[in-house]
Each structure stands twice: as C-alpha cells, then as structure tokens.
C-alpha cells in the first residue's frame, strides 16, 4: 500500500511537471504582453516596449523562462514561495492567490453543500418513487436546470431574485389568490413526495396546502419579511418537528428512547433561546463555534442519558437535532439584526445584493456583518446550486436504483425488515459509496472557481484571477491557477482511486 502511494505520488508529480510546462508554453503563445504598447500613442513607445521586454524577459524563450518560474515554485518547499508577479499591477501572485482562494472557498462551499444535500435527497426520493409523477417531474427539472447556461440563470436571477424581491420588500404584500396558489403548488409537491393511495395523497395535499398558505398569510399579515424573527415558540415547534422526522428516518418512531432523546433535545434548544440571547451578545465567530460544540455535546449527552438498547442511534439523532436546533437559534439571532440592517443608509431598504461580497463601508456587530455577507452570498449561491444540483440528483438517483436492485436488498426485505430499515440502513448507505468517490473529483472542479458566476457577481476568486491574467497577458497568475488546480485535481484523482479500493473491496488497486 505505501509502495503504491509512493509510486503514485511520484508519477503524479511528473504529470504536474509536464502539464505545467506545456501550459506555460501554450499560455506564452496565447498572450501578448506588448499588445497595449503596440497600440499606444505614446511618443516614447520604443523605450516602453524595450523596458517591458526587459522586465518580463520576453526575449528569453518560454521553456527557459519556465525553468525560472519552476525555481520560484520549488521555493515553496522551503517556505519561500515565489509565484511571480502580476506585472500590470505589480502584485505578488502569492498575495493574489491567498485572497482569491479565500473568496472562492467562501463562494462555493455553501453552494456545494446545499447542492449536495438537496441533490442527494431529491435523487434518493426520486429513485424510491421511480416512474411516478414526482420522479418524472424531478428528472425534467434537473435536466432543465442542467441545460441552462449559468450566465443566463445569473442575469435572470438578478432581475427577479434581487431587483424584484427588493421591490417586493418595499411593500411586502401578496394577494390572497397568490397565497392560495403557492399553497396549492406546495401541496402538489408534498403529495407527490409522499405518494401512496388517493386518501393518503389527499391528506398530505390538504395539510401541506393549509400549512403553507397559513404560514404565508401569517408572514404577510405580521410584516414578517420586514421584521423577520423566529422566537422560542417557532424554534420549539420546528425543533420538535425535526426531532420526529429524524427519528422516523434514522431509528423509526417505534424506538421510543430515541424519540424521547430527540424531543428533549429540541425542548432544551427552545429553552436555551433566552440565555443564548446573552451568550450571543457581542459574539464573534470563535464564541459561536464554541457554543455550537457545547450544544451538540449537550445533544450527545441527552442521547446517552436516555440510553436504550441502541444508545448510539439516540446519541446520533440528538446530536443532529442539537446541530439543526442551534442553526435555528443562530438564524433567529441573525434575523434580529435585520431591521437595523434593512434601514441603514448603506442598504436603504434593498438588502439582496447583486455585486460584490460585502457592502463597502458597512460597520456593525458580528451579526450585522454575517447578515450582510448572506445577502451577498444568496444569489451566486442560488445560481451555483441550481446548475450543479442536477448532477447530484442524477448521481444519487442512479446509484440508489442500482443498489435497490442488489441481492442484499432483496435479502433484507426477505428477512422481513421494515422498508425504512431496508432503505436507510442497507440501500442508502451503500448508494453513498460511489458518491464518495465522485466528490473529490468534483471538489477539484469547484476550487477551479465558478469562473462565470464570479465574473457576473463581481467576486474575485480563482476563476477571475485566471481569466483576468489571461486577458491582461499576465502569465504568472495564470500559472498559479494551473498549479493549484492541477495539484488539487491530481490529488483528488488519487483520492478517488483510493476510495474506490477502500470502500468497495471488489476493486483491486493496481498502478
């Protein structure tokens, strides 16, 4: 095994060397750092050209310059990275890289996590409801989203998601017809997910319709969009709901100990609302993280206290409930910052932003800056989720179908296990194995930056660094991008291969 890893690492390094060399030469062909000067009207043009040729060593053939660049990269091993200079702005590439990786990670992590959770959920449900209306609708929607060019989505999103929504916020009112219509749509979706016979469908439809329109009406009536908040009651109700749902999926409602553990965690979370107001006051990221850990640990403890024959399950469920519950508490606190944020002069009643990653010059508490960064994140995240969600839906649907047809699933059913146990324990877990091998590969692509999304929303991440380097004829930022992406891609490939072997014993490692 170690031998395999060692040989693999060595050959990967070789690949990286060859790739960077080729790309260096290619990029050198593609760009022309003298272009702006050749078009310039400056009377001292020749001197300027000569100076630039000298500065960028343009008289040296590109393979030789590559060696120089490589020398700088090699410096990284001894802690002195020199990735060159973006010559038009005289910036160290290492500096640009650090800031742009940060931006990219901020932009894409949330989107990826959301897309993954949403995609896998929809994919699995779709597989379990194969060839039903829900399945067809989801296939259609995911194919449709998959067929949309992302800048198209982005432009439309800005128009309706930002400008439109902000206009709505200026006067948040919906006619009763619209509210009912949204309720009907929600009802249709929910009944399709639950499926079953007509009676069951009608019940689901009815309750989903009632709840959705009711909540919506309440939100409009209380001007919730202008003054959003959850409050302990909503947190309690949602928390208990989550507790029931998670128990139903992970342990079955018949496991009373698990249910009690989950519900008591939810109650505790709601009870924590009041003291948390003090704990959150003047908080920073560290404190919040500490609180999160404490709350989750509390959940684990509650699960352990309730015990039962399957203590681990109770603990897991309680921990999850605690995690999500903390999310509610956090969201509630962020919402409290909404009113002053909404009314501040920098926002001026139009919170959803279309460009940049923050409102320039906005000063405020941790919560205000959090809120500000969310209002900026929401649109690009939505765009990324929409275009990448489809892929996850398809992976997980296919994988789930595959697994559901396996013999061990038949066996499990034959043993008389409940459908829940079959799906959650036997099928779902195994269907995740192939997904686990795709995610590393995906991650490489993600770090590459969402070039188009970044460009449209004015975020300057990895993609923009690469693109602007190419446009401004700066070879060093382009190469830094290639280096990082290449490295990550190769490592990810390697990891994927390893994961195949580790997770699925039927695959032999050979390299």
């Amino acid at each position: 095994m170690y031998n395999f890893i060692f040989r693999r690492a060595l050959s990967s390094l070789g690949v990286l060397l060859v790739a960077t060399f080729l790309i260096y030469v290619l990029v050198d062909i593609a760009i022309d750092p003298l272009q702006d000067l050749l078009q310039s009207t400056a009377p001292n043009k020749e001197a300027l050209i000569a100076a630039r040729v000298q500065q960028l060593q343009l008289d040296v053939p590109s393979p030789v310059r590559y060696l120089g660049w490589l020398g700088g990269v090699a410096g990284c091993f001894i802690g002195k990275c020199d990735l060159g200079v973006a010559w038009t702005t005289n910036q160290q590439v290492t500096d640009i890289l650090v800031s742009s990786i940060g931006v990219t990670i901020k932009l894409v992590t949330l989107a990826t996590v959301v897309a993954m959770i949403l995609g896998i959920t929809v994919g699995v449900v779709s597989a379990l409801r194969q060839y039903t209306g829900f399945d067809y609708t989801m296939i259609f929607i995911s194919f449709l989203l998959y067929s949309l060019p992302s800048f198209w989505v982005a432009v439309l999103m800005k128009q309706w998601g930002a400008i439109g929504f902000n206009d709505f916020l200026a006067n948040p009112e919906l006619s009763i017809g619209v509210i009912l219509l949204i309720g009907v749509v929600a009802g249709i979706i929910w009944q399709a997910i639950f499926s079953g016979d007509l009676k069951r469908r009608l019940i689901v439809f009815g309750s989903a319709f009632a709840v959705t329109s009711g909540v919506l009406w309440y939100m409009i009536a209380t001007d919730w969009f202008r003054k959003p908040s959850l409050g302990p009651i909503v947190i309690l109700l949602t928390g208990v709901g989550i507790a029931f749902a998670l128990t139903a999926i992970m342990a079955g409602l018949r496991n009373r100990k698990a249910l009690y553990a989950a519900v008591s965690t939810a109650v505790l979370i709601a009870a924590l609302w009041y003291p948390m107001q003090f704990a959150f006051h003047g908080a920073n990221a560290g404190i919040v993280f500490g609180l999160l850990v404490a709350v989750v640990a509390g959940g684990v403890l509650i699960g352990w206290l309730w015990g039962g024959y399957d203590r681990a399950v109770s603990m897991r469920i309680s921990a999850l409930v605690a995690l999500l519950g903390f999310g509610l508490l956090f969201a509630d606190r962020v919402m409290q910052a909404w009113v002053p944020y909404f009314n501040s002069s920098a926002i001026n009643g139009r919170p959803i932003a279309t460009i940049g990653s923050e409102t320039p010059g906005l000063k405020g508490s941790f919560w205000t800056t959090q809120l500000d960064s969310y209002t900026h994140l929401i649109l690009p995240t939505l765009v990324l989720v929409l275009v990448s969600f489809a892929a996850y839906t398809r992976y997980s649907r296919a994988s789930m179908l595959e697994v559901m047809n396996q013999d061990y699933v038949r066996t499990a059913r034959a043993k008389g296990l409940s459908e829940r146990v079959v799906v959650v324990r036997h099928a779902f877990r195994n269907s995740l194995i192939p997904l686990a091998t795709i995610i590393p590969l995906d991650f490489a692509g993600i770090l590459g930056g969402a070039v188009i999304t970044e460009k449209i929303f004015g975020w300057r991440g990895m993609g923009t660094m690469f693109l602007s380097g190419l446009q401004k004829s700066e070879i060093d930022p382009v190469m830094a991008y290639v280096l990082v992406i290449g490295f990550v891609a190769i490592v990810a490939n390697f990891l994927a291969d390893l994961l195949y072997a580790v997770l699925d014993p039927r695959i032999r490692v050979n390299a």
């Binding site: 003298l34 272009q35 050749l38 078009q39 009207t41 400056a42 009377p43 001292n44 043009k45 001197a47 000569a50 100076a51 000298q54 008289d59 038009t88 702005t89 005289n90 910036q91 500096d95 432009v155 800005k158 128009q159 930002a162 008591s264 109650v267 505790l268 009870a271 009041y274 003291p275 107001q277 003090f278 006051h281 509650i302 309730w306 009113v339 002053p340 944020y341 009314n343 501040s344 002069s345 920098a346 009643g349 959803i352 932003a353 279309t354 460009i355 940049g356 990653s357 923050e358 320039p360 010059g361 906005l362 000063k363 405020g364 508490s365 919560w367 205000t368 449209i456 004015g458 300057r460």
Partner: protein
Amino acid sequence: MKIKKWAPLAALVGATLALGACSTPAPGDDNPTTEGTSASAGPTEVRVGWNQPMYSANQNTDHGNATANAVINYMTQAGFNYYDKDLKLVPDTSFGSYEKLSDDPLQVKYTLSENAKWSDGTPIDAADLVLAWAGLSSNLNDKVETDEETGEVIVGENEVFFASGSPGTALIKDVPEIGEDGKSVTVTYTKPFADWETAFGVTMPAHATAKLAGLGDDATANKAAVIKAIQDNDRATLAKIANAWRTGFDFTSTPTADQNFASGPYIITEYTENQSIILEKNAQYTGDHAGKIDKIIVRYSEDPQAQVQAFQNGELDMLAPQATADTLTQLQALGDKVEIQTGVDGTYEHVDMVQDNGGPFDPESYGGDAEKAKKVRQAFLLTIPRQAIVDQLIKPLNPNAETRDSFILLSDDPNYEKMVAENGSDFYKETDIEKAKSLLKEAGVEKVDVRFLYGKSNVRRANEFVLIQESAAKAGFNVIDGGNDDWGTMLSTAQDKYDAALFGWQSTSTAVTESDANFRTGGLNNFYGYSNKTVDGLFDQLQTETDPAKQAQIQIDVEKHLWADAFGTTIFQFPAVNAWNSKITGVSPISISPTIFSEFWNWEIAG
C-alpha cells in the same frame, strides 16, 4: 422509571430558565442589539461603479499609467490645473500657480500655495517638485544599454530607474531651481515644448518616498535628503529613491500609513481588494475643491450588465459602463430615478490603409503610379458607409452622434468646427458608390481584393465590418474578412497580411503633440508607410509652437494633407454613457479621463 429518565432534562430546562430569569430582564431588541451603527441619516455617500480596480497611487510610472489609478488620484491628489467640462484647462490656484517666464528658452515657474499640505500635515513644497522632475524627466535614469545583437535592454540591479518619462519633460535637462521660500521651483526646457502646461506637476510626497526608501523618519530631514541626492546626483541614494517612487506606492488593498498620502480633498480610508475603495474627506485639505459628499465609494465590477443591474438595485449611484444600446434602454426604463448623459469618449474609430505592402493601396502595385493608388484609396474610402455605421450602431447609444471628421481633434474640442470646415473631409461626407466606381475606372482597375483587419471579438467592429463589406462590394471591392483578436500586434508587425485596418485611437489629453506619431514618416504609429514631407515639416513646427492659435492652424494644415492624400478615414467617436441617481446634482462627465468623476467637488445629494 419513566419519571426518572425525564428528570435530567427537566432539571436542565429548569436551570436554563432560572438562569435567564436571574439575569437582566427583557432580552431581545434593546439589550443585545447594538448593531446598525451606520443607520440613520449620518454622512452622505455616493457609490460609483467602475470596471478596473486601482493599483497604484503613482500614475506617472510606466505601469501605473492607467485610468483605473487616474480616477482615484484625481480625487486624492490636487494639481496645478484640470480640464473643465468644456475641455478647457483651468488652473487651480488654491493648490499653486505657474507662470511662463520666457518663451525661448521656455522657462516656467511653479509656486505652491502656502496652505498646500499632505494629509499627514507636512507642507507640499519644492522638494516634492524636485522629486517630480527626477521622476518625470527620465534624465537621472541610468543609461539604458542596448545589446547590439539582440536589441535587448540591460538594466542592472542597483541602478536608477524612475520611469521612461515623456519627451516633453525630458527636455528639462537641469535640476529645477528652487525658489528662496522653498515653495517654488523654476524649470527650463532646452527646446520650446507645445504641451508644457500639462507636462509637469507634483507627483509623490518627497518625505514619504524617502521614508519608503529607508532614508529616515523625519519629514524635514527627508525632504532635504531627497533634494540633496538629486542635486548631487548621488547614485546610490537615487537608486533607492527611484525604487521607492516607482513601486512604493503600489497597493491593492488598504494602504499603509506610509503609502497613503493625499494632497486633494479626499483620502483613501479603506480599500477592500478588488471590491471597493472608500474615500473620505482629507482633514488637511484647505483648497477650493473640497467636496460636499462625505464619502465616495468606488465599487468594482467588470460586467456592464452587472453594473446596470446593481444600479437598478440601488447598490450603485453612478456608473459609466461600456454600455450597449440595450443597457442604455434598460437605464432609460428607470425613468426619473436616473439622469443619463450620453456623449462621446476620447477614442475614435477609423480605417487606415497600408501603402507599402504591395497591396491594392500601394503605388508599387500600379508600377509606382502614386496617383492611381490614391484613386483606389479614395474609391475605397468613399464606399465606407460612415453615416450608416453611425446611424445603426452609434445612435442607439448616443442620439446626437455624428460622424467624426477630424483625425486630430476630439469632437468636443473648441477648434473642431473650424477644423472640419477647412480640412477637406467633406469629400467623404457622403458614401458615394458611383463616384467610387468612376474613380476605379479612372485608375483602370476592376475587381479589388482588400484584406480587412479588425478586432474579431469586438461585436461592434464585427458589425461595422459587415456594413463596410456590403457597401464596398457594390463598387467592386472584394473585402476579405481578416478579423483577428491579435489585431493590436498585427497592426505593426504584419502589414503584409492586411490592406486596411479598422480600430480606434484613444486620446488621453488634448495635447497637440499627441498625433505626431500617427502621421509622421516612420512615426511609431504610422504602420502603413505613409510619407508626406510637408506633413513632417508641419509637425516639426508644431512641436515647438507654444501659441495655441498657431498650433490650431498647423493642425488644420496637417489634416488638409491627410485627407487630400487619402490616408484613411475617421468614422465616429466612441459613445459614452454616464448615468447617475437623479438625486445627485452637479455631475458633469467629460470625454477624457477622469470621465464621470470630473469636477466631483460639485456633487451634491439633493433632498
């Protein structure tokens, strides 16, 4: 049993509730919520959208010379003069004054105002002007050696290199003479120079440059050290100073206190890399241009559509996007929330023809018959549908657009009307296929192939090409699509691959010497082998002519020759769209840098 299990939870809940009850009552709004300090009607701010982030506070170096830097520096650095909305050069006497002492030799005295101070309180004085001379003139630079064989330029490690300088300031050979009060200098040109008024001014603070160069902390001592190093030509110290001057003021995020100096009404207080720059009032500024807005925020976004949508969404108050007809319509749809000014930009589109590549426009192709070649050129120029291009492609963006009929002058130049009336451009006023045909007949040629170079990915140029191709075909020209994204390089290096080229020249000032290189025999931007001895002679005169009236006359004479020789044709001046929130008053964009920022001190938020 059951009760026992619930007990811990009950205890916990009880405890937390008790804990809450013991502490300060009434959580929620008033207690923990202290955010939103920026709320309420506090300072006034204006948010301007711009496409490229600033990267250097010193725009006088080769690499810092960009509009992105110039627009910010325009607000943070005061100067001896500026262009007003009629493109007239206006002196700013609250900063300093200058006067021409003599014409030959050209001698100018610059005197700084008593109150002129840097943002750290240090007075702006002669030391800063002496440093400016060192930086702008290139006369202290180490001789750049050129390798005979390769043409390679060799600059050593510790050598003095400020910047490549400009031909104007290079004429000031001697160190400026410092006046007795230490607030003035006199510079002497070795030859008269037409554009002397815009050639010289304060650049970077001398004391800060010296500090960055590692010469010390004390402002007064530093100033003296800079003057001394320059006067004594102390190479070692100069190398450090040059280096600090050239690169020390580069930054792409909030600058350090050692880099951040303002002599103008605003100073950078926060710079979020690639996102925005916040400018606030410079407390030390006492001049005439103190702004009325407390905070100017410049936000960066490349995509014009994104800027327009951000404006619609209230994230921007002002923008000057590279608009298309559609973005303009989108802005107009906002009704009275927006003020839109459509106008022209300093760049003009034109068609040039290569006259020495053996192609259709080269006399060599007709056995050296220059007259014949000229007729072919005239015929081709007559087919270019200038008016149609303006009507179809430019008018949607600038309803008042007209064809540009001068090679040298911007259409908002005070002398433009007179120029157009006299320069002979009216020969090409109308697209005239018949005349073109008869000219071709006179020249005795029929089917003419013209390889046409333009920037391929530029949609507008591709559209212009389509129109030109169609129109020229009617007169018998076969215009071959030579569109290429590498056109900029090809212009000067691949004349054998194209016969005519469509592109734009950008004017950055109204300096009269700017067009010299475009039309002079062997001029740097005369890629086409155009040569007219009379034109060369006129340019020689223009170089040293300092009387504006005579300058204008020489320019007209030059153009008469250019049009008569069928050098090429000008088509239109780039349209510019400036838009701002209608609650802001006093905005007056101009066609050259700093465009929409021009006279920002008049900006005011109404109501």
